[in-house]
Symmetry: D4
Subunit: 149 residues, 8 copies
């Protein structure tokens, strides 16, 4: 058994790298959204033409990014969604809902401060972790029956 | 043609009442989550037994609320998701993602301040409104071909 | 057995009225897109705010109209798509493809001049008619076993 | 992440070659309908027997071509639909509707003259481009995070 | 609990009437294909225009009949398929396969002579009966918990 | 909002009556399997003919009962599965798995002794109750926002 | 583009070999049911235990064969169903209905004598051929754009 | 044709090894749940944090194990479910129901003592075996047309 894992959510810390590094040697294909903030914001207008109105500027980019996001979630066996300390991160919660409706196995990753606010998201998950290393351990256990320590 | 409309999101203003009142006379069935904040938080433990740990307290409630939320979204033709001025509102974004994955027609309702943060949610919507009255006008037009004014 | 029939396509002749009138007495619910051309073009900006750019003006309207179109096709047992003599009518062909992919029974209505250009659309249909009265006769036969004459 | 891309629509210009050439080096599998106009028109009767009636001649061919078209769209992550300057091109719009109903990511490619007539098709798309090179740039960005220039 | 039951197959004996009569008082909606043999054969050309070629004559009729058959099976909870003593009855077996693939509860009705030839069809069924009265008893038991005698 | 609730599992105590009685006044349609143990065991042979082999005797009955069970679960918004003190009750766990795979909201009802043995079933549920009255309270809350006491 | 093709139906002539031989060099994976008549009839009892009753003997075998048949059809892009000159061949028509309901591209292969009896099956097909070589030509055209001659 | 086979159920005898060993040389990918009883029970708390309450201890583990179980069943063509002599084994019956609802080919493996208690599970199966060697023979026959002996 191998796994296809999509890493959604926060783009300002290195949690994706921690998970991918920690999972070396496991039969996992990782996918992610574009994590270059500026490219992600501007991709629509940079390719398909300028928009003077900020709303449509954002809209065009969000649509182009959706090509990648939908493919990443559709192909995934497991979707990990990370909520960081800052920002609204509504796209992360949107991805979690999208993945849940498709019946994907959901792992949510967030600090204890967000427990109450994320209770509906956590309730749709099969695992709720605080540290990227815990996500790695879940994936390792699922694929190899091995517990840490 | 009649419509089943689910009203998801913010529970601290009267936007649901504004839409339901405004839509009187239209062939629409409205459903909503439980909007009594305390009941929504405590329903799990009040019915199924106390939990000393706040996480499981929240979890039990979120699971019970999901019975209603899933039914409401599954039955809906149109899902309206309102993002208010305050709080994280991750459950609103989760519902939006869930509805989008099921192919529901999505209407997002929020003020202009949230445009950038909600661009991925808006990109999945068929209408983005700032006022509840605009949602009413969209529903009226869809059902009766009538434009405002 | 009753039928839900969606009447898609051309909006400049009275073919819908001919079918609905001819089908009186049959257990059929008919739905259609908005057929007021101006309302259909302007609904987006009239409700959700002006757009100086004609592309977004059109886009907003097309999105709002999609709420009705999707519901109409999703609910339908039979989708009738009419191609008239004029205009590109790409939305009609789009609806036909959409309905075909959902496994709806498709009836295509067009004059003999369009046979070659519509061959892929006709190939997805269960009936190809030239006159609205033939559509009525198909529906009458399906519901009552009665052939004309 | 790799992509399977289906190139639907106009067959009289070299837009497919431009996209395939431009996308060299990217992990993309391209599929297309048969683009030999005569073979596409005559395949049914050439293999399965002559038809004196032009309608059934066309019909037999359209059915055989549908084996390829359905497979191509079903396998695709992204469906690009090109509308050229000439002809009715209803099969292109049909493919777009078919792809949209299956939840495929849709990219529409057409000149500015067709904006109004294609507004319903564009409204179902995640990207609307005027040039094949823009389609290449969208695919490159989706797969490699790289913006042009 | 009520049931929607589709009665497919043989049209030359009164087995449908026996079942419908026997089931009086039960909460069942029955649907059937057109059972007027001549109307069923000729409906296509009678409505949509003559065909000199017998194959297309038959084809047009089969397509029109499919509008009713598909609707009947799609709406059904239970599909009863009757194989009589005569003819090939491939449409009956086709309906059985179609119903099985959709997950419908299948009841097959045939005499003991056909057991070996129908073993693949019977293997997809939840009940195999020899007499219409047995089908009535199955439906009565399912709806009312009542066994015969 | 109304609910369709299927009551699966144990047939030797009056838990179904407790729930149905307790839920009087709520907009709920309840369905259940046949709870007459002898009828349930013998329905196959009583209607479709005797079987000397006990395995096929049981098999015929289980198939006929499946017509009702599948319909009951397919129509349900909520599936309640009760595990009693005695017997293997594998059909109850089978129904729970079947309902979970269809995305139904699952409520599991069992005493504390079975917690460890039912952990996989409970993990698929949105509520785990020990008393029928708790199931009633969950349903009342979901439909009316009202908490007990 | 490659194709997965399932060859269903008649097992007493060499039509499968003709198609597979003719298709050499094309990117096609062929699958078939077990075509050893005796093995197919006896597989159930030979592996799972004798049955004195011929009905259950047949039933056990048909169930085991269904493991292969379902997999073969589920994996297929194209299902070819051959009706020979003899026998009832209800399993062939059942497979055709099953494949049609799953949206598979269907090619039916039969002589002209069966045209009327197979009109409902042919009406669900994208190609109707009389010779195995025509099936090969369809597959070659679909994969390589090449017409015969 | 190759097969993906998921081996669910009893973990205290070597039936999985017998099947995997017996099937050597066949084109089969086998998957299983974690069969280390202690690891399976404790995986949740070992990775995601201790729980003083045994119910949540079990729950966390069952959720993590579900990531593997769901993937294993979703990927499977054939699900084999083994019921041993001891324990409640409700998770085995749950998996059987889950697999049945997804339309997987189900093989049930149990001793004659359990026939009556498992009649509903057996009724959903395509083969019921008493010995692991019979499961191997079924798989060998399905893949190679070869009967034992």
């Amino acid at each position: 058994m191998g796994l296809n894992v999509y890493l959604s959510g926060e783009i300002h810390t290195d949690w994706r790298e921690q998970i991918i590094d920690g999972a070396q040697g496991l039969d996992i294909t990782f996918n992610s959204p574009v994590t270059d903030h500026d490219a992600s914001d501007d991709c629509g207008v940079a390719i398909l033409g300028e928009e003077p109105n900020k709303y449509w500027h954002d809209h065009k980019g969000a649509m182009v990014n959706a090509i990648r996001t939908r493919k990443g979630i559709a192909d995934a066996d497991v979707v990990v969604v990370r909520f960081g300390e800052k920002y609204k991160q509504w796209n992360a919660a949107f991805d979690a809902g999208y993945a849940a409706a498709l019946g994907k196995s959901l792992i949510v990753l967030h600090g204890p401060d967000h427990q109450h606010a994320l209770k509906e998201v956590d309730a749709a998950a099969l695992a709720v972790a605080e540290q990227p290393s815990q996500v790695v351990e879940v994936l390792r256990y699922v694929l190899t029956d091995t517990l840490p320590g």
